[in-house]
């Protein structure tokens, strides 16, 4: 893989504390690529950064951080993707605050795939995890790479389902890309780095910090065409991801459940405020404008009508009289009449003028 010769400059600017992404984007617009920015006199940059940030820019600390990131990127399978590169995910260019660079470990080509986010509670139910995994596998098989946040519970299940399907998975971290958090997902993280893609905007070594997780969530939704919330409490990070998806113009989907479970309250709140209720992967695929599923191998079985048994099986859709039924079914008039009465009381058959009977379709009766 060809390395951007200016990578050290990108790193120097993004790793300087106090030099925000907005300021960096403004400098990029004003002066061009990072190498050009850094060739400017520091006084010329004063309009875009604080005095402290400009002082830190050339400090040994930032130099060390740059060296550490370059060292990380020298490992095979590790890539740092900058805003200026072709491989930078197009979907992120649409969001208001795309990160200047992304640390990526694994199959970098997944960044160009159509993607779909699945998120939810860390304290998920067993059924919730199964649902997440099942939706993820079906959507992955249909051509969507599954994006989630490598949290316990729903996130982990979504990643597993994505890996099991044809289009793999992307885990977006709220920590440095080399920090495995939570520890319980270490094996899953390693598998995703090998068969999927692990992604972070935070410098290597960045420890878990609460304020980084909501920031990370905007990337989960931003990378995706839509976002499914499988289980979520009323006040939960999954709802932050869903809100950020809606703000980014992504379709939001939610799985309903019992009105007595705290883990469905977040999903129900989303549906009440306009998210689509979904029962199957097909429900999602039908809503994704411009996405053509590559294969519709659904894991959700279509509802099966029970076969018609007994007299009903002989009735067809048109009115019929008792004599005809006797000959079709090989029964006596007595037997047919008594069975017709039973079916009529059960609401499966209706009597018509002239001694005719008609089968009622399930949609026609109460």
């Amino acid at each position: 893989m060809t390395r951007d010769p200016g990578l050290a400059s990108w790193l120097q600017l993004t790793l300087t504390p106090g030099l925000g992404a907005a300021g960096l984007r403004a400098m990029l617009r004003q002066f061009g690529l990072p190498q050009a920015i850094l060739q400017r006199k520091r006084s010329e940059l004063a309009a875009f950064a604080s005095a402290e940030a400009l002082e830190a820019l050339d400090s040994p600390q930032v130099g060390h951080a740059v060296a550490r990131s370059l060292e990380w990127a020298a490992v095979p399978g590790h890539v740092i993707v900058t805003l200026a590169e072709e491989t930078y995910p197009r979907a992120l260019l649409e969001i208001p605050d795309p990160p200047a660079l992304l640390y990526a470990a694994g199959r970098i080509e997944l960044l160009s795939r159509a993607a779909f986010a699945i998120v939810g509670s860390r304290n998920a139910s067993v059924q919730g995890e199964r649902n997440a995994e099942s939706f993820a596998k079906a959507l992955s098989d249909a051509g969507l790479c599954i994006v989630s946040g490598l949290a316990l519970g729903i996130d982990a299940a979504a990643h597993r389902g994505g890996l099991a399907g044809a289009s793999s998975t992307i885990a977006v971290l709220g920590t440095g890309i080399d920090v495995v958090y939570p520890r319980g997902n270490a094996a899953l993280a390693a598998e995703i780095a090998s068969r999927g893609l692990v992604l972070s905007e935070f410098a290597p070594g960045t420890a878990p910090a609460a304020h980084n997780f909501p920031r990370r969530n905007r990337l989960i939704s931003g990378l995706a065409q839509g976002c499914l919330v499988v289980e979520a409490a009323l006040a939960s990070g999954s709802l932050i991801t869903a809100r950020s998806a809606a703000e980014q113009g992504r379709e939001v989907f939610a799985v309903p459940g019992s009105i007595h479970s705290p883990l469905t309250k977040g999903c129900h709140a989303l549906i009440k405020s306009g998210a689509k209720l979904v029962e199957s992967a097909e429900d999602i695929l039908a809503e994704l404008v411009g996405f053509r599923p590559s294969g519709l191998a659904s894991t959700v079985a279509a509802p099966i009508e029970p076969p018609l048994t007994g007299l009903l099986g002989h009735m067809g859709h048109d009115p019929v009289d008792v004599d005809a039924l006797c000959s079709r079914a090989g029964l006596s008039a007595e037997q047919v009449s008594s069975e017709l009465l039973r079916l009529e009381l059960a609401g499966r058959v209706t009597s018509l003028p002239g001694g005719l009977y008609q089968r009622l379709e399930k949609g026609d009766r109460r």
Copy 2:
């Protein structure tokens, strides 16, 4: 109760086979009340009814049927309400095909109450029945008389909840008002006739017939300001009631549930096509335009935030430093720092510049 002197004429016209409700309404518009219609030459009525119907009009069979209905109406607590009477429910005058008369047994004054329909599967789950009963009681307590169809399962539970609340219940039958169907609800029917109201548009003695149930469903929804479906399969009578509610301009509500239960598929289909997802009686009351609840004694408990324990309980909503926390909590700096780290990793606390810490509200974190 004053009896309409023309009741026998109303009965004669409605009990004549082949003389439809639309034809009767046209004659009422043309000639005035039933007594006036019957004084017309039969040839003058030919534009409104078939020759067979006109012949049947003065037949002994119709005479017997009229006598039977009058006999039924002579029993205390039994009333026949015609379109022309004040007590005829106003809500039914809004629907396209109001019945010319209603047989009513019980508390006739319930016909003037604000009403709400709750329907659902006959083969309901235990939880579904509990939900129906709980919604019904809460809405009944809020001033809405609960309308349903006296079927097994959800309907029966809705009636029980309505009776348990302050505003009682109305059972609308698909049979003659003196025919108890299904038998399993005989005791409930008797209790509704005593403490609520039983209603039917069918002549006494009318046996269960499948085609009468969808007709009956339009009255359930027509009497009500809105209709809640608690559990329903995809092809079910409850969806007919919901459709008829929507056609009559009534708001439709549905209770969500597991995506793996066949009994939620009907509810989910309704929500997908625009019905409101509801988790509590309050969700419904908030949507009923023009209805002012008489008392908000909800059976659905508000979600309770767990109390903040340990260090979080000492943090308030503003940034605080370790020293202040030590003195507030009576802990050593060592203890406070280690607990803050734990809380930070758990996403409950965030660190700010200057050695400050801030509690994260549940909505702010993932």
